[in-house]
Symmetry: C2
Subunit: 110 residues, 2 copies
């Protein structure tokens, strides 16, 4: 379990530890538009393996960024939703979105 004691002293490093992975950022991007099933995430994250997606989702659940809901159905249905803490990463996502748009726009004008 994450505690304040094992977080890096630098807050930027803390953020990187929790979401500083390409796939984690893209999982957050996908969940910012609403709850998703495992299969929907896998389809959206072009190239991710089932194993790696599972590992990232578990780590994000453990650090309190996402909530996992299992429905007692056959076949089993599993849904992932951002928690309040996860939702607050929208500010980081949006800063990346804005910067990426500006960079692309600048490069297309050259």
């Amino acid at each position: 379990m994450l505690t304040i004691d094992n977080l890096p002293p630098c807050p930027v490093e803390t953020t990187l530890m929790l979401m500083g992975d390409k796939w984690k950022v893209l999982i957050i991007r996908d969940l910012l538009t609403g709850t998703k099933r495992f299969g929907e995430l896998k389809k959206s994250l072009n190239g991710i393996s089932q194993k790696v997606l599972t590992q990232h989702l578990r780590a994000m659940e453990k650090s309190g960024l996402i909530h996992r809901k299992v429905y007692a159905e056959v076949p089993p249905k599993v849904e992932y939703t951002l928690t309040e803490v996860g939702q607050s990463l929208k500010q980081v996502h949006d800063a990346m979105l804005d910067w990426g748009q500006a960079y692309k726009s600048k490069n297309s004008q050259q």
Copy 2:
């Protein structure tokens, strides 16, 4: 050379491609406070190898985020500075800083 044609369609993925690596973010953090020499960066980025730091600095120079200045001295002196495009990543850095601070503060209150 990066062109608009080989950037990912999603702007968030573009940002991740250019700075979405733990070390790149920390290099940007260090250069946001001013020009640094290679040795200063290596010392600040605890645990990075000379090879990996060199690779990241070259990639960031190529994508226009940093400027490398070599002084004709013995021993050679090399300095790295953020370009205007690199400086504009401050918004992403600051969003990470704010989020990390809030996360740490929330966890320390529990």
